[in-house]
Symmetry: C3
Subunit: 139 residues, 3 copies
């Protein structure tokens, strides 16, 4: 049994949905030491989020952004508007997509399905770099 924790930073990205599976896996080589376990990937922000979805077509990621903007619009009865029109929608979008992923580890690798990849959803116009805390447990 082992536990380890790793703070990593993802560089600033434009507003939208980005595939970051390889980047994240590459930053925690300690994954390889676990035969079976869990990777908990946590974003320490409230206006960007993590989800799992289709890893092949950029169209899917663009359609995520389009849907999110249509159903969590900037034009709405918001009261929290001080930080810009993209701020309050970003908080709701982050809650819908989620602030963490728990992923199975098998044989030293993330045991994702063939078509699954990790999405970083940047909901702000200028979100800046994003800090993630990754907790590995297993044996």
């Amino acid at each position: 049994m082992s536990w380890s924790q790793h703070e990593i930073t993802l560089e600033a990205r434009p507003r939208g949905v980005h595939l970051v599976t390889s980047e994240i896996a590459g930053k925690v080589p300690q994954l390889r030491d676990l035969r079976v376990g869990l990777a908990h990937i946590f974003i320490r922000h409230t206006s960007a989020s993590l989800t799992l979805n289709e890893n092949a077509s950029p169209d899917v990621r663009r359609d995520f952004e389009t849907w999110l903007n249509a159903y969590v619009p900037e034009e709405f009865a918001w009261t929290h508007t001080l930080e810009g029109s993209d701020d309050m929608p970003a908080h709701i979008k982050a809650a819908l997509m989620g602030s963490s992923l728990t992923l199975p580890i098998s044989g030293g690798r993330l045991a994702l399905g063939t078509w699954q990849g990790i999405y970083l959803c940047e909901h702000r116009d200028r979100g800046g770099p994003r800090s993630l805390l990754i907790t590995l447990s297993g044996e």
Copy 2:
């Protein structure tokens, strides 16, 4: 402390929301060995999902499907349409509901509330069998 991992298959189901608590628990009898722990239930697909909700009335599950179809419609400004009109909505719905559940284990059983059950949400018209990877940890 123990870790174990179990790959199970849920047979093909029609598009809609299905209660699968007993089926899943029945396929991982190793649950009984854990006095306290966590069950991580992971679906290895991006157009079906897992969530927890009311385990009694079939009306609730039907209303889930109705709401999902209304707010993630097939008629929309999608660009990813090659795989059919049910495909892109399925990806968004899967992200909203989630691709995994982490559930507490107490005394060898899933420690769900009285009214909680596991929903398999099949978002495709013909999704086929669905593969789940279950990771148990605890003592």
Copy 3:
């Protein structure tokens, strides 16, 4: 390595979104014993939920409630209406926000970002006290 489980109760709150980080952390002082680990916080209900979001402005929490009511409306093609007009929307809202949080523990504390706090989302008009089961693991 240690595992522990703690059942706690949050008192009845009005419909809306409530910040409960300190209350929850205060009820599980066992957090302090873990140098590195995970806290799994699970709500045993299907019409209230847990999510993580901005911990400073009450406006953000009010805007969450406004958005949820607009996009999961009481006036809709619901079939499950026996338990009141707030019931079926509560089930959908609970699935969107989620029934559990898995949070990293570092140095005996929840390792949240500066602006992150735990929201209890009460989706019923009269939800009553809410029961949570917290599972701690780590070393």
